[in-house]
């Protein structure tokens, strides 16, 4: 017979090495105190914060980015006029500006800059840096995707659309090195909230211009070694799909109170991988959390699971220009037959709130109209009014979603709810690849599409302004003169209470017309290592990293 010695030897070697390994583990677990230091332990000792951060950053240039994850990194590297408070979204922390004031109707804001603010190369931060930055992001040649955030400035929109060429006509002036004046298009009592956003961060002119023109959108200035920033940290390493590392800025004005000795951001965009990395003690914090493990973590003692209110809404867009969605009664029938409680309780399971309106109720004191609620009888009534004696008569239509297990589950549940309540048989679900999905929504080439919206600042305006006619985020074909008028009027009111009242009126119009089917209000669901201290729940989830401390638990 043939004796297969190489295989046998190989197998023996493998099995012996497995045996040794197992023996070592067993021996180790038997010996008390044989706990090796994990990666997280080392990082805590060295005070390096290890954060899961969703996807790979598109750029580390405040004028190019648009995603939440990218903004997280920029918030560590740059500091705006006003910054986020570590525990309360409604409070403002002085950033580069020591103090600020506005005129009576909140249309002109004056920021007084601190004299000791420095860039990471030692240069002072001046009001001219902000003017330069606002010119850059608004400049039409720059084509910054999020330039519309600066349309608050007088003539900002006109300059961005090349309607005027002269930047000095835009409402931002450096009175001197340390005083900046912003003149707004319309009153905004919440303006200090707005300038916290990444789009309002300053950039270092000499650095940008040593790698190209002001408006060159992709130069090497943002790379480690080149990048100069004014925040608590500066960029030291960046490897695509692997990590971004920032370390304390030696010239930062408040460097004594910067607690971490560095932050590593890991672009783990697979939620299951991220959770495992956390369980394996490789990271301090996960960006998200797989839905199916939420219950497991809830049952744990001293669970690292955190569930916090988050200013965002999950909803379906309806294309009101296309049958059968062009029929208001039909849209109502669909809206009233979605059982939002069931979805948050059994499908998303992350403590989300059923969305009876569009704008999430927030600490800003705005209370949305609670009108869209599950009501099968009302739904059937509206189906009749829409001209269908039963659901089987409804023509085929499709829900489009972008590829994701979570969106899929929700769509399947809703499809079945429509079937059970209204008897609609011909609802299809179509999974689309991300860019195809964006194109389809952008072209309003769908019947129903999945959508989500996270607030940019704490004010209902960030949720309601997109439904104005022809807003580039509307994408439903819906346009309503009353709504436009109410929103415009609300923009002119400086008294917050009166303003909210107008906005609520506007939102009532939106919810009466239902170009959107609200489903739930978001929560942040994530895992946080107990070593991380002073990480507080925040509505916008914008944590100022300098206050976060690492102490072995």
């Amino acid at each position: 017979m043939i004796r297969p010695f190489p295989t046998a030897v190989f197998l023996r070697r493998i099995s012996s090495s497995i045996r040794t390994g197992l023996a070592a583990i067993v021996a180790c677990s038997l010996l008390a105190g044989c706990r090796t230091e994990t990666k997280v332990d080392v990082a805590t000792r060295e005070k390096i914060l290890l954060l899961g951060n969703g996807g790979e950053p598109k750029a580390l240039d405040p004028h190019i980015v648009s995603s939440v994850g990218d903004a997280n990194i920029l918030r560590a590297m740059f500091e705006g006029l006003v910054t986020y408070h570590p525990s309360n979204d409604m409070l403002h922390e002085p950033g580069v500006a020591e103090r600020w004031e506005s005129n009576e109707d909140f249309s002109e804001w004056r920021f007084f800059l601190r004299k000791n603010a420095k860039w990471s190369n030692g240069d002072p931060v001046t009001a001219h840096d902000f003017v330069y930055a606002y010119n850059r992001i608004l400049h039409p040649d720059m084509a910054a995707p999020y330039a519309s955030m600066l349309y608050f400035l007088k003539n900002g929109e006109a300059y961005n659309k090349r309607e005027i060429e002269d930047f000095s006509k835009v409402g931002v002036k450096a009175v001197n090195d340390f005083e900046l004046v912003c003149t707004l298009e319309s009153p905004a009592p919440y303006f200090p909230d707005v300038v916290k956003h990444t789009t309002w961060l300053p950039v270092h002119r000499p650095t940008i211009e040593s790698f190209g023109k002001m408006t060159d959108p992709y130069t090497e200035w943002q790379k480690p070694g080149n990048s100069v920033s004014n925040g608590a940290f500066y960029l030291t390493d960046w490897r695509i799909n692997a990590y971004v590392k920032v370390r304390p800025n030696p010239y930062y004005w408040d460097k004594e109170s910067v607690k971490p000795k560095g932050i590593n951001f890991y672009p783990l965009d697979n939620v299951f991988t991220e959770e495992k990395a956390f369980r394996n003690d490789l990271i301090h914090y996960t960006y998200t959390m797989p839905q199916n493990l939420i219950e497991r973590y809830k049952e744990m003692e001293n669970s690292p699971l955190r569930i916090e209110t988050y200013a965002g809404v999950y909803f379906y867009r309806c294309n009101v220009t296309r049958p059968p969605m062009d029929n208001l009664d039909f849209r109502k029938a669909l809206a009233y037959s979605i059982n939002q409680e069931t979805i948050v309780k059994y499908v998303t399971m992350g403590g989300q709130q059923p969305a009876y309106g569009f704008t999430p109720p927030s600490e800003a004191g705005y209370d949305p109209p609670n009108v869209v609620k599950f009501d099968p009888d009302k739904a059937k009534e509206h189906l009749k009014k829409a001209g269908y004696s039963n659901g089987a008569e409804v023509p085929e239509f499709t829900i489009i979603i972008n590829t994701s297990e979570a969106h899929k589950s929700i769509a399947v549940a809703i499809q079945d709810m429509w079937k059970k309540t209204l008897g609609i048989e011909k609802v299809k679900i179509e999974n689309q690849e991300w860019k195809v999905f964006q194109q389809t929504v952008h072209d309003v080439n769908y019947e129903v599409s999945r959508a989500g919206w996270i607030g940019d600042y704490v004010d209902p305006n960030t949720f309601l302004s997109m439904w104005v006619s022809n807003d580039s985020n509307n994408n439903t074909g819906w346009s309503n003169a009353d709504y436009d008028r109410l929103m415009k009027e609300s923009g002119r009111i400086s008294d917050p209470k009166e303003r909210y009242k107008k906005m609520k009126e506007a939102e009532s119009v939106l919810l009466e017309e239902l170009p959107v089917l609200p489903i739930y209000w978001y929560t942040r669901v994530y895992l946080l290592h107990p070593d991380v201290k002073n990480w507080n729940p925040l509505l916008l989830d914008n944590h100022p990293y300098k206050h976060i401390d690492l102490i072995a638990d």
Binding site: G21, S66, K223, K276, N280, K435, Q438, Q439
Partner: protein, 308 residues
């Protein structure tokens, strides 16, 4: 110099094939709907126009194509549109070593397991050992990598603590990735080896050798092995290409910054230059591998050589 001419003409063909691949990819990528500048939050039309202008996408497609070829000849693969500030050259230079290491280590694992198991199973044909080994191999084939990879992660990293479960830097997670790929391909190689070994073992010269009283071990390894390994060698080209290009599932599951992830992300971001760049690298790799496979096959099987 027959061999030199063969190699030269083969090289010329490969170059032409490369040009075809680059051309097809260039135009295919542009056919796909959506563009690199679309975002979840809508970007105004005039800004998209401006960005197209900034990146030269406003020119006629064929002009862009020739401009691209011109840059390509100088070794410039262009800027990455999804990772702004990085050039495609840099992205590939960072990603390739990761994928290459995964691929090579994976292939070594696959060969170390696959070939001996295949030979052994062929020698023990139709016995319980054979069936068991092939059943395990089949299990390896039908369990997709997106099942094996998390299973290995749970088992070896989270339960036994032998490896890290994710990340690249100071992390042993890459070995789990290579192991996943290796196990998967070893199943293929085991089955292929067994099949072709059986073919060879039935041939008359083996019987002759056996009849002449040559030791069974010697028959197996000296006489049968060389012929039996030929289809495996033919498979190595596609296998390595598949290992390196198809490692994206493994790279995603273990959070590794390899080319597979770069390619998938480039495709979903419509990062045109990075799509072209990664495909060009894959293409060069496949062409080079196939070239070597042809040469090695000719060496293993003298009859093929004489015809060429």
């Amino acid at each position: 110099m027959e061999t030199a001419r063969y190699i030269l003409s083969r090289f010329g063909q490969s170059l032409f094939a490369l040009l075809c691949i680059i051309t097809l990819t260039f135009f295919l990528a542009r056919l796909a709907p959506g563009g690199p500048f679309l975002d979840e939050k809508a970007v105004p039309e005039h800004l998209i126009e401006q960005m197209n202008k900034n990146y030269g996408f406003d020119k006629d497609l064929h002009i862009q194509y020739f401009l691209y070829l011109g840059r390509l000849i100088q070794g410039d693969l262009g800027p990455s549109l999804g990772n702004k500030g990085f050039s495609v050259n840099e992205v590939i230079a960072e990603g390739f070593p990761v994928s290459f290491m995964l691929g090579i280590v994976g292939l070594i694992i696959a060969l170390l397991i696959g070939v001996p198991v295949g030979v052994f199973a062929a020698a023990k044909r139709n016995t319980a050992i054979d069936y068991t080994l092939m059943a395990i191999a089949m299990l390896g084939i039908c369990l997709p990598t997106f099942v094996i990879a998390p299973l290995l992660g749970e088992l070896l990293a989270l339960n036994l603590g032998l490896f890290d479960v994710a990340l690249w830097e100071n992390s042993s997670a890459w070995f789990l990735g290579a192991l996943t790929l290796g196990l998967y391909y070893s199943a293929y190689i085991a089955r292929l080896t067994r099949g072709s070994m059986l073919d060879v073992l039935h041939q008359d010269f083996i019987r002759t050798a056996k009849a002449k009283g040559v030791a069974p071990m010697k028959v197996l390894f000296k006489h049968a092995f060389r012929g039996g390994i030929t289809p495996v060698v033919a498979y190595l080209g596609p296998a390595l290409a598949g290992l390196i290009g198809g490692s994206f599932v493994v790279e995603t599951v273990f959070g590794l910054p390899g080319l597979g992830q770069h390619f998938i992300k480039a495709a979903t971001n419509r990062d045109y230059w990075l799509i072209n760049g990664t495909v060009t690298v894959f293409a060069v790799l496949i062409l080079v591998m196939n070239f070597f496979v042809d040469v090695v096959q000719a060496w293993l099987d003298p009859r093929t050589r004489s015809r060429n």
